[in-house]
């Protein structure tokens, strides 16, 4: 099992989710987050006072997948989340030791 954490542009979220559904991914957890990498923020001006907003709104998608689905999922995200501009986000992969379905105590890939 692998966990995919993808931090993407909010404007791409709809397409990414659709593409993931199309390849049969049924579960994910989504959070509205703020952060920045190399992308610089923008300035906002309120009554003449300038504020640099460097933590920009992003969407974070988390999903734990059986190994067989991982490559497909990555390809789907890469294809749909990319605008080619700075600030498109990042994907992190990590190995997952165990998954448990709370309702019936199923374990491993059955629990996904």
């Amino acid at each position: 099992m692998m966990k995919i954490e993808a931090i993407i542009q909010p404007s791409r979220f709809g397409s990414v989710k659709e593409a993931l559904h199309e390849i049969g991914i049924e579960g994910m957890t989504v959070t509205e987050v703020r952060g920045h990498g190399r992308q610089k923020g923008h300035t906002e001006i309120y009554r003449g006072r300038e504020y640099t907003v460097d933590l920009l709104p992003k969407m974070k998608l988390e999903m734990v997948l059986p190994d067989a689905l991982v490559d497909q999922a990555l390809a789907a995200i890469m294809k749909t989340a990319k605008t080619g501009m700075i600030g498109d986000g990042k994907i992190f992969l990590s190995r997952i030791d165990e998954a448990i379905r709370i309702r019936n105590d199923e374990r491993g890939e059955n629990a996904l």
Binding site: E44, I45, Y46, R47, G48, R49
Partner: protein, 474 residues
């Protein structure tokens, strides 16, 4: 426990009854029914007709004045409460809104006890007397000195709404760091020591700045440029300096938490201002229409001027800029509303929009005072420029306040009026300045003024009131 509640209830009734009896002299009696019109002699008919005409005018004026009173209350809550509420950080939303609301309750009670009398009772040159304390003698009969066609009760409640919003304006400067207890005590004292005398000097019978009733230095102030905006704006500046900056200002960003709230608030202020300015005609007449129009045009011109200044400076016009400009224009036209036509109103609005933009963005940055929500930059500055421009633009064609054929403002041929305006402005500035410093010292000794740094960090909503504006777990 129950018994103690009952006891308290009984005690409070005993306390209120004598007060009520004491002031029961106010009469709301109807005039005697006239004899049958068809059987009356012609002279009786004439006098009856006369009564009926008077009654009809009184009804019309009273209807408009009651609506105006309600409009002016709407400026404080929700208008100002939303306008300020959106401009603070989210942890201080309820605290700033409650300060406006608390004044709606607090000033109302004080007004009934002594406030109205101190402003409009007696004929002292600086302050009124206790003639109308507990609203004695304030009933359905008009008070001919102030508004001869409406019940004095209406005049009384209309003026009350002005006394509510004026201290509420100051809370914009003390936002996000003043103790609630200190704020309540300060506002009570400020109303008695600064507002009441100023209102009497400018509007009260015998007041030495009163233009309508022959004061020594007749200052034109139609709806409260000096009494409301200069007094609150200048006091706001003093408060901001005395309280010092919010911790983290100006290094830490403190952007408004919801410009949507501020936007709604500003639009309510604009609408409410028709009651404030057009209502100050104290009748439903041509002067009210003229003031209504001047008010609206000045607000529009100022919104454009502030936006244009921003567009020129930053390359973009902003929502906060547009609404701030409109408020600045409304402030500046307040003293002039009943003295100028639409074209001078546009000019006053233009000047005020640009001037307040400069005050808020440049002057505040140079002197580094933390007037958190720009109560001074908009009300103090806008009120001052408006009061002076009133002296320039006032026209006898709109309001022959000095008698028919006598020029009123500078362009009318009476440049001395600008000097009179200057006297009024200086007195309002001086009075607000000194009064506020003294009161801040006193309140600082009794309750303290500023919350601790920890409380400021946590926010005033939680530390002063034990609640939050936005509960994520609810």
């Amino acid at each position: 426990m129950k018994r103690r509640c009952l006891l308290l209830l009984a005690l409070s009734i005993f306390a209120v009854v004598p007060l009520a009896l004491f002031s029961a002299t106010a009469s709301f009696g109807q005039s005697a029914t006239p004899t049958d019109f068809s059987k009356a002699t012609s002279s009786e008919k004439l006098s009856q007709l006369d009564q009926r005409v008077t009654a009809a005018q009184s009804s019309a004026d009273n209807a408009w004045m009651l609506v105006s009173a309600a409009l002016v209350l709407m400026m404080t809550g929700p208008g100002l409460a939303l306008f300020y509420g959106g401009l603070v950080r989210r942890k201080n939303t309820l605290a700033i809104m409650l300060q406006s609301f608390a004044l709606m309750a607090l000033i109302t009670v004080m007004w009934a006890l002594v406030g109205y009398s101190l402003c409009f009772g007696g004929n002292g040159s600086v302050i009124g007397g206790f003639e109308h304390a507990l609203l004695r003698g304030v009933g359905a009969e008009p008070n001919a000195d102030y508004a001869g066609t409406i019940p004095q009760t209406t005049f009384m409640v209309y003026q009350l709404m002005f006394a509510i919003i004026t201290p509420a304006l100051i809370t914009g400067a003390t936002a996000e760091r003043m103790k609630f207890s200190g704020s309540v005590l300060f506002m009570m004292l400020w109303f008695l020591v600064v507002y009441a005398p100023l209102a009497h000097m400018v509007w009260g019978k015998g007041g030495f700045l009163n233009a309508a009733l022959g004061g020594r230095f007749p200052t034109l102030d139609f709806a409260g440029g000096t009494v409301v905006h200069i007094s609150s704006g200048v006091s706001a500046l003093v408060c901001a300096l005395y309280l010092r900056k919010r911790s983290g200002y100006p290094q830490q960003p403190m952007p408004p938490h919801s410009l949507v709230l501020s936007f709604i608030g500003a639009c309510l202020l604009w609408v409410g201002w028709f009651g404030f300015n057009a209502g100050s005609a104290l009748a439903s007449n041509g002067l009210a229409s003229s003031a209504f129009v001047a008010t609206h045009f000045a607000a529009a011109a100022a919104a454009l001027a502030w936006s244009a200044a921003e567009w020129f400076k930053n390359g973009r016009a902003s929502a906060l800029g547009a609404i701030s400009g409109a408020v600045a224009g409304l402030v500046a036209i307040t003293p002039a509303a009943g003295f100028v036509g639409p074209m001078p109103a546009l000019a006053i609005g233009m000047v005020a929009g640009a001037f307040c933009y400069w005050m808020v963005t440049k002057v505040k940055a140079i002197f580094q005072y933390d007037d958190a929500l720009d109560a001074f930059g908009v009300h103090g500055a806008g009120g001052t420029i408006g009061a002076l421009l009133t002296g320039v633009f006032a026209q006898q064609a709109i309001n022959p306040i000095y008698g028919a054929g006598k020029p009123v403002g500078g362009l009318d041929g009476h440049w001395g009026q600008v000097g009179n305006q200057l006297v009024g402005v200086l007195i309002a500035w001086g009075f607000a300045l000194v009064g506020t410093i003294v009161l801040l010292k006193i309140v600082d000794m009794i309750t303290g003024l500023r919350v601790s740094t920890e409380e400021e960090e946590a926010g005033l909503d939680i530390t002063q009131h034990g609640e939050e504006a936005y509960n994520l777990e609810a």
